[in-house]
Structures are given as structure tokens and as C-alpha cells.
Amino acid sequence: MIELSDLHKAFKTKTGPVAAVAGVGFTARDGAITGLLGPNGAGKTTTLRMLYTLMKPDRGSVRVDGRDAFKDAEAVRRSLGVLPDARGVYKRLTARENITYFGRLHGMDEAAIRRNTDRLVEALGMADFIDRRSEGFSQGQRTKTAIARALVHEPKNVILDEPTNGLDVMTTRGLREFLLRLKGEGRCVILSSHIMQEVGALCDHIVVIAKGRVTAQGSPDGLRAQTGEANLEDAFVKAIGSEEGLQA
């Protein structure tokens, strides 16, 4: 379970401080998929970066399975599997070597790394490129490698920043099934997206973010009821206040 409360983060720029996140709070349950929906630049990535301890919030707190993300950062990172916005797969290493490297950094032994890699290769359909160097991988192959790398240590909590970005339809479908499988295993899954249909189809709890603030949150049915719109996409647009930066 992941609890965020009243997160604030501002960045210094030449024209003065810009508030990227100004009051984001939600709770993500185990065995459920929580989706962060918002246009590009709404503050989703910054929120997630504070969640996986890469950034320190100016205000507010993050608790992962009851642990404070800043007092106990290492233990929190140990229980997280993170797919950042930047995939950053090592080009001169094979997909398997990329995964093994992260397994070792998580302190796993070689047998466990091999076992988990084999499982992920099967689940994500990576068999035909697992031992190829990732130079020249397609966007889908890179994303799959990065996801496998993030999940090799079987984390209880899975955080994915725009997981389907740049993927073709078939890969996206496969990935959605994979995410539902993670949910079925009782994991706490958080993903961010600017695609309304994706969030609507996958998520049990939806957090709508615009301009650094949560404008609405709840289950798909709850959101429809809150906004008084029968169509979920109309509900999103109403919650955000504009269609800009969203994708159906």
C-alpha cells in the first residue's frame, strides 16, 4: 500500500519558482491498479519521482507499506519496482544482461535472477530478443526490457510512468494483460497515463491531476457519479477542465 499526502514540489527556473506539484494526495491499495491521469506537464512524473525517493518533496509525505520514503529510502526502494519516464536501457548490453545487472544491484543471487528472468521473459514475450544487444531495439522491446529489469526482484509495489508510451497496439494489449496479472498477484500497481481509454479500462482507482493538483479521484463509477457524466471520458474532461494534452 502506498499513501501520498499533500505533496508539494517547486523548481527554480530563471523566471522564478514554478510549482510542478501543489497538493497531490491519494492512497493506492494492494491488489489494485491506481491510475494517474492528466495532460502532459500536469505533474505526474514529478509526483512519481517523489514516490520512488528520487526527489524530496517540499511538503507532504510518502509512505510505502507504512515506511516513510525519506527516512527509510533504501528499504522503500527495495520494495518498489520502477519504470521511469526515461527507460535508459544500456545499449551495449543484452536484454538479459540489463536485467541481471539490476537483479545484482537488488542483492539477489544468480539462481534467483535466472529464475525470475525466465518467468518475466515468458510473461512479457521477450524470448526472441532476450540475448540480443539492445542497440537497435524497437520502442516496445526497450520498454519490455526496462519493465523486466524493474520487476526482476519481485517487488510488492510496481510504479510505471506512461508504460504504453510509443508502443504499437499488439504490444499495448500484451502489456495490459501483464499489468492485470500483477494486480491478480496482489501487488500494488501505480501507473501514469495521458490516455483516457487506457486508464478507464485498466484502473480500479483513478486520480485526475491537472496543474499539479488532484481535481478528482475515485473508481470509474465514482468519477461518473461525481461529475454527473454518463461517459467516463466526458467525466475526465470535466474534471480536468480542458481536453488539451489528453488522448482518447
Binding site: 524530496k56 528499504a75 520502477v82 535508459g88 544500456y90 551495449r92 545487472y101 537488488h106 542483492g107
Partner: protein
Amino acid sequence: MKAFKTVWTVMLKELVEIFRDRKIIINGLLLSPLIFPVLILGIGALAETRARTQLESELKLPVIGADIAPNLVAFLATQNITAESAPADPEALIRTQEEDVILRIADDFATDWRESRAATVEILHDSSRQDSRIPVQRVERALAAYSQQAGAVRLLARGIDPSLGMAVRITHRDLATPEARRGMLLAFLPYLLILTAFIGGAYLVMDATAGERERQSLEPLLATPASRGAIMSGKIAAACVFGMVGLLLTLLSFKLSFGFVDRGPFAGVDVSLFAVAKLLVILLPMVLIGTTLLTLISASVKTLKEAQSYMAFLMLLPILPTIVLLVSPVKNQLWMFATPFLAQNQLILMVLRQEAITLQQWAVYLGAGFGLGALLWLIAARLYHREQLAISA
């Protein structure tokens, strides 16, 4: 224990990555070892041949007013210096570097000579030109010998012992070892060795920090539970290993090249295994200082390009002591062994000149060298903890 495992894991991964890039291996590891044979065998032979031909071959010397002093011209001929006819504008010829040296015999030379006054000859040359040094010296020596000979004859003719005119007789006893005299010609070698040690691991360091950041792989890496200090140390360790391999290859080529030279200024330089081992110990702190300094720079810049822009400046650092010593030479003092670059420079020269290095000098040197490396490591580790480091976009 856990930290050590992270350091080891990161180091192995960085080394695997770099050794898969063939061009970098060739440029980074093999180029510098290849420079030494070229420099030592090629340039050494060139310098020697040049010095020998300039010293021993016939020197053609344009002489203005040769007909005024036929005896002097005849004497010069016995010294293998052949007088040539006088050019119209001697100053211009020296300035345009068409002639190295021109001799002008003064118009009143014959009159002065007959009346036993000091007769004037003038040597025209450009003292800022390196390659005219030897011809000018030859002309000077020949003229001095002629002057002394004629002077002695004059004194004898007057019934005076010529040695009366010499109140003090100056003789030299050069106590420099042959190794030390060669050492003067070796002034550029420390620079090459220090440079190899200092920036040998540069590519790997910059790629592992600034490059990873640019390729956006630092963010997922720093989201793992591995500590940032250990990750950075692994990268530094990999660069040190890479730098050491380059350094070993360079020293090996250094030893082999000098082993082949049997004449010329570089013949017989001490490249025994013991001397090479000492050079390796001297350069070890330099490898650490170089990699930590570059890590520090790479962690504080935004892009790989920005990190690379520091290279030109860094390449100048090792040559600074050589320049300072050239302008104001000083005797070895203990503080020098605690000054980076200067210390390496002096110690390498001491090894090549087969001078003893005291225990105290070793202690000060290694203490200061590794101390500076540790300090830079700490600063780099602090920079590695900055929030902006992981955020690339």
C-alpha cells in the same frame, strides 16, 4: 559487504560495456602505448643524426670581407668551415632564416691586425632559433681558437710566456652521471606518462556519469536500493582499472622502446623492471586523482559535451610544472612531493636519472597523492547525492 558487492557489480558492468566498444579500446588503450616507440626510436634517432651532421659536416659560412682576412679564412677551412661569397643583404637573410649564421669582418680589421690591436669580427645570427645554435657555436669556437693562437704567437714574438696572460685557468669536471645528462633530454617523458595516467580513464568516467545521465539510464539506476556512494565508487573503480590497464601497456611499450635504442640521446635509460615498477607506483595516485576529478566534473555538468569541454584545460595541467621549472628551476624540496603534477614530474625524472628517492619523500608523496584522491572522491560523492543528478529531462 553489501556496498562492496554493489561496487563490484557496477565496476564489472562498466568494464563490460567499455570493452564492447572497439574504437574506444583502440583510442583509449592502444594509441598512447604506440606513441612511445615512435617518439623514442624516431625522434631520438632524428635528434642524434641532426646533431652529428651539424657538428661534423662541412659548415658553409658566408663571410663579408673575406679578402681582408685571408689567414682567418684559411684557418676556418682547417676547422671544416668553408667561407662563401658575401651576400648583398646579410641582415635580411638571417631574418628570413635563409642563413643560420654570417660572419662580417670589419673594414679596419687589417689595420688593427697589423698594429696588434683587437681586430673586430661580427657574428650575425638569430638567438631565438634553435637549429642555428650548433653552427653559431662552431663559428665562435673556431674564432676563439684563432684569436688565442695568434695572441700566443704575438706574446712569444715579444719574448713573453703566453700563459702569463692567463691569471686563472678554468677547467670543468662534469660530475653528472651519464643517466642524468640524458635526463635533460627526457624532460618531455614525465608529461606523457602523467597525462596517460591522469586522463587515461577519462572516456569511461565521462560516459559512466555524464553519458548515463544524458542517455537517461541514471534515473532507473538510482531508483534501485544500491547506495549512490557505492554506485559512484564502482564507476570510479572501473575507470581506475581501465586507466591502469592503459598505463601498464604504456609502461610496457616504454620499456620495450628504450630496450631497443642502442645509440643516441635515449640509449641506456634505466628501464629495468624495478624502475618501471617505481614509475607505476608514482603514477598510481595520478590515476585516482584523474578519475575522481573527472567524476566530480561529470556529476556537476548537464551533458557529455559539457564534460568534454573541460578536457583541453585538463590536458594542460600536467605540463604546468614543466613550464614553471623551465622558467625558474628549483632544487627538489619536500613540499614539492606534496604538489600534484610537480611531484610526479620530479619523481619520474629521479627514477630515470637513477637518483635515490628517500623513504620520507615516498611517504609525503603517497600520502599527499592518495589524500587528494580521497578528498576529490568525497566531493564527487556529495555531488552524486544531488537531486538534479538523476533527472535528465
